[in-house]
């Protein structure tokens, strides 16, 4: 473990050396690609060089795609033969991300590596090849509520970086990266945000009365939510997927089985053959997601699923605020308690 002070050039040179062995992944600015005219989109993607890293802004998408791509071929078919595809790149990947997202990966791990008792091999082979380079949050971003979700602090990182205008401070936990970086020794320790502009109060106790499931508070979302699923796709902890088979139109004996991101807000998520489905109303979907993120995941795994990154609020085209929803749920529960 050591901490260093580097200038931009020293930092960039180190990544030039690292780039031979590692791929880079992290927040990336796509100029002019934002939702409104003349705005940029900050996505999370593979970086061609460290210069492409957007170290100052929160990304619109989470980094989960590095281990759980939006679509992934699980089998390639040649008639009745099932063949798992090789990884597109065997190299290990350095992932730049923020503390909440590091905590998000702990949630992904629970689902993909533990739930059901069998590790998911497609997730695992990507997960085993990543190293976290934590970007220190100088302050909280709009819509963040990581402090309320206990995910403002992360310790599980290979290195932590404080980006300055000309200088960077780097703490290296994983010795295997030590030889790549040279600079002046310091006693740098990353700081973590301790308050967010958005304050969120979680439900007071560990039980959820049955009345909450059919409570009128969810009906508002019947109207407001348009089931676009952006909250699901932007979420670092949403893990749901669907499996689809395709065949190639010009070679019907060949095709693929793929898994693609799915989400509890999307139409068709619970459709069964024969036409039956659950949670037809958007409000029911909002209830399902909310309780999963801050209540029932905890019952199964011991901590909340939501990490408070606030991306669902950033991306919702209907300006639905998840943090407001949690607060509303909490006050509804308190009101019910007072009536007793």
């Amino acid at each position: 473990m050591k901490s260093l002070k580097l200038n931009r050039k020293e930092f960039t040179d180190a990544f030039a050396r690292l780039g031979e062995k590692y791929r880079l992944f992290g927040p990336k600015r796509l100029a002019g690609r934002g939702r409104f005219s003349d705005t940029d989109l900050i996505t999370c993607d593979f970086l061609n060089s460290i210069e492409e890293l957007e170290s100052e802004e929160k990304s619109y998408l989470s980094p989960k795609a590095v281990v759980f791509p939006p679509d992934e071929t699980t089998f390639v078919f040649n008639r009745d033969e099932f063949k798992e595809p090789e990884m597109e790149d065997e190299r290990e990947t350095i992932v730049f991300l923020r503390p909440c997202d590091i905590n998000g990966f702990a949630r992904l791990d629970r689902m993909f590596l533990e739930n059901g008792g069998q590790p998911d091999p497609y997730y695992k082979r990507r997960r085993d090849r990543i190293h976290f380079f934590m970007i220190e949050c100088r302050s909280s971003f709009e819509n963040c509520f990581c402090v309320a979700m206990n995910s403002n602090i992360a310790q599980n990182y290979a290195a932590a970086v404080r980006f300055g205008d000309n200088e960077l401070l780097l703490k290296i936990n994983d010795e295997s990266f030590g030889s790549y970086f040279s600079g002046e020794k310091t006693d740098f320790e990353p700081k973590f945000v301790s308050e967010d502009a958005v304050s969120v109060e979680l439900p007071p106790d560990q039980t959820m009365p049955a009345e909450i499931f059919s409570h009128a508070m969810w009906q508002e979302y019947d109207q407001r939510c348009i089931a676009c699923g952006r909250c699901n796709t932007s979420c670092v902890t949403c893990t749901c997927f669907s499996t689809i088979d395709i065949h190639y139109p010009d070679s019907r004996g060949c095709g693929e089985r793929r898994r693609v991101w799915d989400g509890c807000h999307l139409d068709g998520f619970t459709n069964m053959a024969g036409g039956h489905s659950f949670r037809k109303n958007k409000g029911e979907r909002m209830r399902f997601k909310t309780l999963h993120k801050i209540y029932d995941f905890r019952k199964r795994f011991g901590f909340d699923m939501c990490v408070g990154c606030g991306r669902c609020d950033d991306v919702c085209p209907e300006y639905i605020s998840f943090s407001s929803c949690i607060n509303r749920l909490t006050s509804t529960l308190k009101g019910m308690k007072n009536e007793e």
Binding site: P121, F241, G255, F269, H276
Partner: protein, 264 residues
């Protein structure tokens, strides 16, 4: 890739037979350690994959009874003996034998819900379940929809079977009315030793369990099986989650005391 739980095995189809105009049974060869109530992920490459419960099994075969209602199931219907079906499993928690040993067993099945409980009925009838007695209430929409009709006739010789169709029909001399009406008429001598299994469409299970509760049967003595959309069968894809429960790994068979608390 080692230990890929998503990789199915090719299982040779030994027969395929129509049960009703839209339901058919596929028998495949293979040796599996199955508990009644479990399911497999059944697929055809380039077509798709779906969870299908086991409707019968033996030392070297498994049967799936399927309704042709979707892309995959319509194509499955066209398969022929000698072709391969791709399956992985068995998955989930089935009907645990110890819950029925030395007990009176009541099985209420509605429509295609008979398929997942058929292995349990077969075990009970063959004396492998060590239950004390067996009573079946099996309901179908109409006589054309009756599954396993010749086998039901066999069962009628060996235990108390109430086979009913929803509405009277010309030429039908048997019972009519919903299964709930027949539950209501039950005379239960030894409530303490009765275990009931209820499997069928959602509304049928809801009202059947309510009738059983009205008779005074405790929730803990009722067992149900859930059907949900699933993409993985192994607790990853999230489609079948209800509250903190994953139907694929924690179910599909649940004690009603738990099932009653699960709100989709």
């Amino acid at each position: 890739m080692k230990n890929n739980p998503y990789r199915p095995v090719a299982a040779r189809i030994s027969s395929i037979s129509m049960e009703t105009p839209i339901e058919f049974t596929i028998r495949v060869q293979g040796q599996f350690a199955i508990t009644p109530g479990q399911f497999f992920q059944v697929s055809l490459p380039r077509i798709g994959e779906a969870p299908i419960s086991v409707s019968s099994y033996g030392k070297d075969f498994v049967e799936f009874t399927i309704r042709a209602v979707g892309r995959l199931t319509n194509i499955l219907q066209e398969l022929k003996a000698g072709q391969n079906l791709f399956i992985r499993g068995p998955y989930g928690q089935g009907f645990a034998r110890e819950n029925f040993q030395d007990r009176d067993l009541l099985i209420v099945a509605g429509g295609s819900g008979l398929a997942p409980v058929r292995p349990l009925i077969q075990q009970a009838i063959n004396g492998k379940l060590d239950n004390r007695s067996l009573k079946l209430i099996v309901g179908f929409k109409n006589s054309a929809g009756i599954l396993f009709s010749s086998q039901i006739e066999e069962w009628q010789k060996m235990c108390d079977v109430c086979l009913t169709i929803d509405q009277p029909e010309s030429g039908w001399n048997g019972n009519t009315g919903l299964v709930t009406e027949h539950i209501r008429k039950l005379e239960i001598a030894d409530m303490k030793n009765l275990q009931a299994v209820v499997v069928g469409p959602g509304p049928m299970m809801k009202f059947s369990t309510a009738e059983l509760r009205l008779l005074g049967l405790p929730e803990q003595q009722i067992w149900v099986s859930f059907e949900r959309l699933m993409s993985c069968g192994i607790g990853k894809c999230g489609h079948c989650k209800i509250d903190s429960t994953y139907v694929c790994v924690d179910g599909p068979v649940f004690n009603f005391s738990q099932a009653a608390t699960l709100i989709d």
